[in-house]
């Protein structure tokens, strides 16, 4: 048997690709939806739990819904409260009002108020922060979630979504988890990236997006996650398109491809279609080329 055909014991059965961007609105969800239509059997995950949009294109049929309970929230029992003010004095988040009521949006659930309260009037209760779903879509199973309005613990909800997606992929024998990530570089992005096999950064050729791409690249280096870059809306500014290409070349970041500035993306979104379905001969072909480069990279990294 030749070495090439020998199954590699270290090869991963499931690889996870996370689409990120730094700057919002560069096209993460449109790209994720398009890639969802291509490639091998996969499980999809929407980790932009603050403002999840992937379901608007994938029209999921939810088959399971779970409450997301994470951490705690303080509650002050007015009947037991003697108004000593210790909770107000010790709370560092401005979550106790002058009338000794908890301001829910500000409460971090740390438990300081319950600890200092001499009357046991302040208590800690489980916190319902949102819901998450397992759904069927035309491109495979989707795990998606909805963080409650003005809620905490987005990072933990992201972790919950990713764990559910991995379990599904194992059960279904899917070889890929494709994740739509949140914008930024903070808590939910860090939670989306940890342990992923490849980060796919969608950038547009604007001064802002270039600035943000560099920070996202620093973040992926910090967590040692391989990175590929997609330039979206390239027609807006040819010069910055070239600058991003040069930046990638100089920093050893592989380009997955370039997509033009094209109204087809908006039109597809309006029809709740991926651009691969809406424009199979045009943008659909671009996306296929892009996916082939991503697949090649995944195969290469998995040897």
């Amino acid at each position: 048997m030749s070495p090439a055909s020998k199954p590699n014991k270290n090869a991963k059965a499931i690889q996870e690709v996370v689409v990120i961007s730094g700057k919002g609105g560069t096209g993460k969800t449109s790209v994720t939806a398009a890639l969802a239509a291509l490639g091998p059997k996969k499980v999809l995950a929407d980790c932009d739990v603050d403002a999840a949009d992937l379901h608007l294109v994938l029209a999921p049929d939810n088959i399971r819904t779970e409450d997301f309970i994470a951490g705690e929230r303080a509650f002050i029992n007015a009947d037991a409260c003697v108004g000593c003010g210790l909770c107000l004095e010790h709370c560092r988040y401005g979550a106790v009002s002058a009338q000794f009521e908890i301001i829910n949006e500000n409460c971090e659930g740390c438990g300081v108020c319950a600890f200092v309260c001499p009357e046991d009037a302040a208590v800690m209760l489980p916190r319902h922060c949102g819901v998450w779903h397992i759904a069927k879509t035309r491109f495979g199973s989707l795990v998606h979630a909805r963080l409650g309005v003005a809620e905490e613990n987005s990072g933990k909800l992201v972790t919950t979504v990713r764990q559910a997606a991995r379990k599904l992929a194992e059960e279904q024998g899917a070889s890929l988890i494709l994740t739509d990530g949140p914008p930024g570089i903070g808590c939910p992005v860090i939670a989306s990236l940890g342990g992923a096999d490849l980060a796919l950064a969608v950038a547009e050729p604007t001064t802002s997006a270039l600035h943000d791409l560099k920070r996202v690249h620093d973040l992926t280096k910090h967590f040692d996650i391989p990175l590929m870059v997609i330039i979206n809306k390239s027609g807006i500014n040819e010069e910055i398109t070239k600058t991003i290409g040069d930046y990638c070349k100089d920093n050893g970041v592989e380009m997955a491809g370039t997509l033009p500035y094209d109204n087809a993306f908006t039109q597809a979104q309006i029809r709740a279609l991926s651009v691969v379905e809406y424009d199979p001969e045009g943008r659909g072909r671009d996306l296929l080329g892009l996916w082939n480069r991503i697949q090649a990279r995944l195969d290469q990294d998995n040897q």
């Binding site: 609105g25 949006e105 914008p183 930024g184 943000d212 500014n237």
Partner: protein, 287 residues
Amino acid sequence: MRIVIASGKGGTGKTTVVANLATYLKLSGLNVSVADCDVEEPNLHLFLNPRLDIEKTTTVPVPKVDPERCTGDDCGLCAQLCRFKALILMAGEVMVFAELCHGCGLCTLACPEKAIIEDSRIIGVVRSGMVGCMPFTEGELRIGEAMSPPLIEAVKSASPKNEVELIDCPPGTSCPVIKSLDGADFSVLVTEPTPFGLHDLDLAVQTLRQLRIPFGVVINRDGMGNSCVHDYLEREGIALLGTIPHSLEAAQAYSRGQLHVGHVQGFEAHYARLWDNIRQQIGEIHS
């Protein structure tokens, strides 16, 4: 008067609105200050080119355990109480995981041996300076740091009060957004006329209603998608403060880091109308 420009969805044009509105108001003779609270990806400086003279690091408190005083296995109260698992008792020793710490101070309060003191951890920097005569403040989160709200708080405290104070908010609806919106007199939500724009606008609307902050909406790239956002605003009785048309010329100016005001013909009028409507809305709240 503190006005926070927010959105739900990223990339709808928050920074564009802040930069152009601030410039328009400055040209109109108002005393304006601006603050960029999108500390994960601060971009406002790219459009306003401020002279930044002051840079201060921002820290959050983290516990430091004195092994001489700590009784380890005999106690373990700190590890038991910490909701964030930032303190763990391992082999008779308390270990601190600084990245998980929310700086609440409970462990220091609770330790019966007074073995825990508060040290500090850098989470980012706050920079202050001027754009001409307009005060400018921004924050930049350290790469790898998860906790942005304390840095957002620091940006807001460093930004001087003024006749009009415009705040550029991060996207989303969770803790960093709530922190940026805290203390706002009015909020301007920026959206785009697409299904994604509408979906995330609705989340932002729910957030502002819950926080009881008065608000109105600006539609950016109007004409790009469909009428779903216009229909929604009418249905919900939400004020449309203004529209900024979909225009390749405007997108190109943006891509170069240029303002609409002064660079794209006819666009100044959109910001003039926006400001008139914001003033009218705020007037109605106060009357």
